[in-house]
């Protein structure tokens, strides 16, 4: 761990970040257009069925971490395989590859969070914002997604259907996470889903930092943290155990 190591991780992140929208006009704006469209469409439809105050703000705060997770998983899981040429030809710290995907997506998330904060303040909804909760939820999200991506990207090298499995899993996960709805709308006998889904508390913490209405359940938070730690450990252990031989499977 030295300066050169961090420079390298940074350069790889820059590469991932720069190349994504390089040739698109207004490249970066696309990062914002998607979630805004998503928010508007879902918001217009679901506001008929779901009664949550400030529903659009609630929705957008949940969609931001969710889009981060999907983007990171979708690009991160096959990342070792898509960089196989590079990995087979040069010796460098392999963790730079999934990390570059995670960090570049995290910059995107940071920009949308920042702009969303700005919009809220301008529109006069700034009084409910809790920056402490926001900071905590960002860190927690970063750790959890890193664990997930290290786990799936390493396995994907050996089992090439992992990418399809994660994609299917994400579709289910979207509805199993309280993004469109609030926990109070779900009967308690189904709450085991939220206990098992470590995203629950992260998304709720995001909503809480923007809307100021915190319905965090301490039991769920506890179990979520525990599962999160297990996920991160799994990711780190699986990667560390396999990184020596990763190149031979590519």
């Amino acid at each position: 761990m030295n300066k050169q190591y961090f420079e390298f991780i940074f350069a790889m992140t820059e590469r991932e970040f720069k190349t994504r929208y390089k040739r698109a006009i207004f490249g970066f704006i696309w990062v914002l257009i998607n979630p805004i469209l998503q928010m508007l469409i879902i918001g217009i439809i679901f506001s008929y069925f779901i009664d949550i105050p400030n529903y659009f703000i609630f929705l957008f705060s949940g969609l931001m971490p969710w889009n981060f997770i999907t983007a990171t998983m979708t690009r991160g899981t096959p990342s070792f395989v898509s960089e196989r040429l590079l990995i087979k030809k040069a010796k460098f710290p392999l963790e730079a590859i999934p990390l570059s995907v995670i960090f570049s997506n995290f910059i995107h998330l940071g920009v949308s969070v920042f702009l969303f904060l700005g919009v809220l303040v301008v529109l006069g909804g700034g009084g409910n914002i809790s920056l402490v909760f926001l900071f905590l939820s960002l860190i927690w999200l970063l750790l959890l997604s890193s664990g997930l991506v290290f786990f799936t990207s390493t396995l994907h090298v050996k089992f090439r259907d992992i990418n399809f499995i994660t994609q299917a899993f994400l579709i289910v996960l979207f509805y199993a996470t309280p993004i469109l709805y609030d926990l109070s709308l779900i009967p308690e006998r189904l709450w085991f889903i939220f206990y098992l889904n470590p995203l629950t508390s992260i998304v709720m913490l995001f909503q809480c930092s923007f809307t100021g209405q915190c319905r965090l359940n301490p039991n769920i938070v506890g179990v979520n943290i525990l599962i999160g730690i297990i996920v991160v450990l799994c990711g780190v252990i699986v990667f560390r155990k396999n990184k020596r031989n990763l190149v031979d499977w590519l």
Partner: protein, 245 residues
Amino acid sequence: MNFTNSNVVKLQRVSKKYEFANIYSSLSEYFLVGSKSKPFWALKNINLEIKKGEKVGLIGPNGAGKTTLLSIISGITTPDKGCVDIRGKVISIIELEAGFHIELSGVENIFLNGMILGMSKEGIKRRLKTIINFAGIGKFIEQPMYSYSEGMKLRVAFSVAAHCDFDTLVLDENISVGDIDFQKKSLSKIREFFSKRKTIVIATHYLDFLQKTCERVIWLNNGRIVEDGPVEKVIKRYIKENGNI
């Protein structure tokens, strides 16, 4: 520390195994069929010592294990058996362009590729002018790489690698790159490496080139060392057994 006259590369009883592909290509298959792995030994029981400053050629038919051996020396992969002791900084020019991204400009790619080869950002900044001049592709250096011809990409790639600090250089096959003009330039750069006290391991089929540049040649076949010795002796036997090329 000074490693003069000591070994920079030491391999002891090194063996490298590959599993044949498609065995557990998918998780569903893994659970349904189970794992029946068929190993293939790319290197078998290799003992090898290379001293600092030695120029070593690797010869042998395709699939003999040359590239696997080079990957082990450059630390890209690790053996399944045996031990490897490498001293100093090894860079491999196995594939020059591996680190390039065509959406980025020449200069951005110089930084990226240099860092992949293990240079520090500061070191690249210091040498940036020299690297750009050596590549000699003019204003294209500021353009995104998708506008480059293959030859121009190779020029930039070679230039980055040639200006990298290293103790041991690992080369695979393509030594001369670009047009005649650049070939002269790159060959003279490679000769410069050969004349310095740098260790060079090179795998190639150009026996003439080896005779001119290397003192020692290792002949590999089926993952084993057939012969390891002075260049004339090994090449003579190699030609005798394989017919002249």
